[in-house]
């Protein structure tokens, strides 16, 4: 935690403690802990998207406005797999009538026919976790094709051109998804075993049901932490990662050593696409996927990247969690009663404060995005 972020957190804590004194303290503590959990959860999604954005920017120098669309495509990989698992044989049941009075259609999923009712239903039930295996290769290949087919032609173009082409690409991708899946949100459930909530408060000495938190959100947080750790581990402890880090620091020198850094950076684009896609897959039980969900996350994720420091991977993760937590606190009634509307501007307000006091962001490096 940098010294610039401490005053923001401290100010928040003072507001909350101050309001807590005038309200039920225990109730406020419940709410604070719940909002910390919420913030970590939101922050995990922001951090995962921002991590991919930063990877692409740090390696290829491309400002990728299509990154939110990659998150959305990941989510729709889960939807597609769910639809695939639910592919059914259709028979007519003369004992039941449809809405027009014709014999009703009865659908039996192929998986149920092949593996029996119990096993077939279990496979369908676990479609979201299984979609990780489905989405990973798709997203890597998609990222690879995207970089080779489009993005590479814009490396030497101004950032404004990159933004325009990637933003246009994002719109094209979401319209394609809308064409095939419709505009409405599509319910995508977590496995039955993860339905329900954990009584978190009991662990902390609160009364039963004081602080409960959905199991799947905890799973999402753990998954995000694991994914972030894997990306850092990959970059830190593998030869491939070492070369990539060297290329991020000094691309020309690495090239002079005879290493084809472009090929590695292309793979990094695929990896970043996969990170965004997997974040989308696991987010589907939290937010029913819709074609514009990527855009909803994109702007916030860019703020996260800027606040964290352009090109800084730890900065992106730190800023993701920081802004997620602050956004959750800003939604508390006690805070909103003091500063109406704060929940809608908090992220931008904090971004302004941080950038005024530290123009390179929390962990930005000198020379990145600077003439």
């Amino acid at each position: 935690m940098t010294e610039q972020t401490c005053p923001v957190i401290l100010a928040y804590a003072l507001v909350l403690v101050g309001t807590g004194a005038s309200h039920r303290m225990a109730g406020t503590m419940d709410a604070i802990i719940l909002q910390i959990l919420n913030g970590l959860d939101k922050g995990a999604a922001y951090a995962l998207i921002a991590l991919g954005l930063t990877l692409i920017f740090g390696t290829l120098g491309v400002v990728n406005f299509a990154h939110g669309a990659l998150f959305m495509i990941g989510a729709f990989c889960a939807v597609a797999l769910q639809a695939l698992f639910n592919a059914s044989t259709v028979t007519l049941d003369p004992t039941k009538l449809d809405f027009l009075g014709n014999p009703a259609k009865v659908e039996t999923p192929y998986l149920v026919s092949w593996f029996g009712p119990e096993m077939g239903a279990s496979i369908i039930d676990w479609s979201v976790p299984l979609a990780i295996l489905f989405a990973f290769p798709i997203m890597v290949i998609f990222g690879f094709v995207l970089e080779r087919g489009l993005i590479k032609h814009f490396y030497k173009r101004p950032h404004a051109d990159q933004i325009l082409v990637t933003f246009g690409l994002a719109i094209v991708l979401q319209e394609i998804v809308k064409y095939f899946f419709g505009a409405n949100p599509i319910p995508t459930s977590a496995p039955d075993v993860f339905r329900g909530s954990l009584d978190f408060g009991v662990w902390l000495g609160f009364e039963a049901n004081a602080i409960i938190y959905p199991y799947w959100r905890l799973v999402y947080f753990a998954f995000a932490a694991l994914l972030i750790a894997s990306v850092f581990g990959f970059l830190q402890f593998t030869t491939f990662g070492m070369v990539v880090r060297a290329g991020m620091a000094d691309r020309e020198t690495v090239g002079l050593l005879g290493i084809d850094i472009d090929k590695r950076f292309t793979l990094i684009f695929g990896l970043a696409a996969a990170v965004a896609g997997l974040a989308g897959v696991m987010y589907t039980p939290i937010l029913s996927p819709n074609y514009h969900m990527g855009m909803d996350f994109l702007v916030l994720s860019f703020v996260v990247v800027v606040v964290g420091g352009m090109g800084s991977l730890p900065g992106a993760v730190l800023a993701g969690f920081l802004l997620g937590i602050l956004q959750s606190f800003a939604s508390m009634n006690e805070v909103k009663s003091l500063i109406p509307g704060i929940d809608q501007i908090i992220i931008y307000l904090v971004a302004i404060i941080i950038l005024l006091s530290r123009p390179r962001g929390l962990m930005g490096r000198k020379g990145v995005m600077e003439e």
């Binding site: 809405f99 319910p187 969900m293 909803d296 009634n333």
Partner: protein
């Protein structure tokens, strides 16, 4: 002696001829522009302004299907749908006043400025004489204002805010869909029966005109049956993740969560509330309950199993058993393969009502249409006996109270009808405080 060839008689003749000549274009112009977009050929153009992109695009698509069906029936095609059950027998399936009906479409994008722009284009470029459609009260209010200024009739689609026929009512605008007050009046007695009269409600409300009026209406109605209101929290539109707003509800002292959200917002907030175990909790010694005052079947599909058992209200449901509903469902279902939504039904009904009013008035002049619709009582369009009240241009009819079905038989069987609340129970005075602050004004024929 003068050689001039001007004579007094000649001057008078020339003056008269010149006067007539000069007046001629004015006569023709005034004749041609008696009202905006007077259809002079063999066709008449209607403008259907629906969300074709954006979050409500599926709802817009269903509205367009209904409009297409209505036009087909007006022109004598198909099985006639509700033309055969409509109590008014003015329409003969030969277009409107003998002119073949054609239509143009616009995309509201569920944005007021985009909706106004597309409506304006349809009026000015395509010659649309009536505008209908929309899936948002913000859009409806904006387009209604535009139609008033332009001098065309606006037959509102799906708009539920009290303001549409309240403070923002306009003489050229008519709403068939019910409103937030009616939802509250129908729901409150059912909620009392389901959950008792000692309840504490917490409102999460979409922060725009529809959300505000629904929150006001539901809070007033539930307080009237003895419930208390713990908090009213406004949430941004299109938020996505509502967890930060749901978490404070858990230990707020409330035992009922009222979601004044619609569409995608409703799907997300309801899903989040269920994930946080609200329906499995107890508060104040009672089961924690969730209420969604305005249901949308199309959007409810997005909420999946989370809507089971949750009460709400609808303007219409395809499972109603009156002749009008049966005819419409058969007609729509046969053509498109699935039952119509309430948005489709209200758009279909509005198109027929406009055509019927023109036919009865014998003119496309908006002021004639307004006169024909004001105080018009009808039946056979799926909602039972209905009145288009003259004072505010709001339709008064029965309201459907529904609950999410526990064991749906198919993907369209999402809700079950709990009660059909009679119109008398949802009727209010034209000067009711929740609808105050506006006036219809005079009808505007435009031109």
């Amino acid at each position: 002696m003068s050689n001039s060839r001007f004579t007094r008689r000649g001057l008078l003749k020339s003056g008269t001829l010149a006067g007539v000549g000069l007046a001629m274009p004015t006569i023709f112009t005034s004749r041609a522009n008696a009202f905006t977009n007077d259809p002079t050929g063999g066709t008449v153009t209607l403008g259907f302004n629906v969300p074709q992109t954006g979050a409500y695009a599926d709802e817009g698509a269903d509205e367009l299907r209904a409009f297409e069906l209505a036009v087909e029936h007006l022109n004598g095609g198909g099985d006639g749908g509700m033309l055969s059950t409509f109590s008014s027998k003015a329409l003969q399936g030969n277009g409107i006043l003998g002119k073949k009906v054609q239509f143009v479409t616009g995309d509201t994008q569920t944005k007021s400025d985009a909706a106004r722009a597309s409506a304006q284009s349809m009026i000015q470029k395509d010659g649309a004489i009536m505008i209908s459609g929309g899936s948002s009260s913000g859009v409806a209010v904006a387009v209604q204002g535009l139609c008033q200024e332009a001098g065309v009739i606006f037959m509102a689609g799906l708009t539920h805010s009290n303001d549409t026929t309240g403070k923002d009512r306009k003489a050229n605008g008519f709403r068939h869909f019910f409103n937030a007050y009616m939802s509250a009046a129908a729901l409150a007695p059912v909620l009392k029966g389901l959950y008792g009269s000692d309840r504490a409600a917490y409102h999460l409300t979409a922060d725009y005109t529809w959300g505000w009026t629904q929150e006001e209406s539901i809070a007033a109605a539930t307080e009237a049956i003895g419930w208390s209101t713990i908090n009213k929290v406004r949430t941004p539109l299109g938020l996505g993740d509502y967890s930060s707003y749901i978490a404070p509800v858990l230990n707020s002292g409330a035992d009922v969560l009222i979601l004044n959200h619609y569409g995608g917002d409703m799907v997300n907030s309801l899903t989040n509330a269920v994930q946080f175990g609200i329906r499995d909790r107890q508060a104040n010694g009672k089961n924690f309950e969730i209420v969604v005052p305005l249901y949308s079947e199309l959007m409810a599909r997005g909420a999946g199993q989370n809507i089971k058992g949750i009460p709400g209200s609808q303007n219409w449901d395809w499972k109603l058993q009156d002749d009008g509903t049966k005819a419409f469902v058969k007609s729509f279902g046969t053509k498109f393969g699935f039952p119509p939504s309430q948005a489709a039904q209200t758009c279909y009904a509005q198109t027929l009502l406009y055509a019927d009013a023109v036919t009865r008035a014998g003119t496309f002049n908006p002021c004639g249409v307004v006169e024909a619709l004001e105080g018009f009582e009808f039946d056979g369009l799926g909602n039972g006996k209905t009145l288009y009240r003259a004072e505010d241009h709001q339709c008064f009819k029965d309201v459907i109270v529904v609950r999410g079905k526990e064991n749906p038989e198919n993907e369209f069987d999402l809700v079950e009808i709990v009660e059909v609340t009679p119109v008398g129970q949802v009727t209010y005075a034209p000067d009711h405080p929740m609808f105050a602050g506006g006036a219809l004004g005079a009808c505007n024929p435009g031109a």
